[in-house]
Symmetry: C2
Subunit: 106 residues, 2 copies
Amino acid sequence: MVKLDPSDGYATLINTFEVEPDEVVALTRILEDATETMRRMPGFISANLHVSRDRTRVVNYAQWVSGDDMQAMLRHPDAQPHLKAAADVAKSFEPVLYTLEFSSGA
Amino acid sequence: MVKLDPSDGYATLINTFEVEPDEVVALTRILEDATETMRRMPGFISANLHVSRDRTRVVNYAQWVSGDDMQAMLRHPDAQPHLKAAADVAKSFEPVLYTLEFSSGA
């Protein structure tokens, strides 16, 4: 189970892909495959794939121990084919690094 | 604790605010206050506030039981002052409704 807790101090990567609706299934499959590689890299905590209700965006909400771990993953040779495959299917993508500062659960 | 689990079937609202760096603290305070109101509304599961490392964006990653619950919140009179306060401080905001389809934890 993936949990959100500001006290963990993780780096959160929110990567938003814009995509044609008929490429959503292909893109999510590519990102699932990518996760199988990323999850073996140092500092990986979680990856969580979301599809927008209008099927024009896919978001990967990913947690890493640190921003440095996340950057090292991006530079890792094993990551390159996955990143390229996602970029080829998506219209655009925008990775942004965040810190989780506040959580309120029901 | 807030958890991510595709089998929950929740609606995920990812609301991205663009903001001047010197307004980040004011905006997160407004959104924390807003959460105190929202969390009493039907269908609220969680709100999670993130600040980008470059301090130009604030993201609320919020879970609701359903998209209808989330939409009802937006129309609720108690929500309006909070939504207006956030809109006044932010340069822009873009709420997008997602479904969590896949999670992989370490």
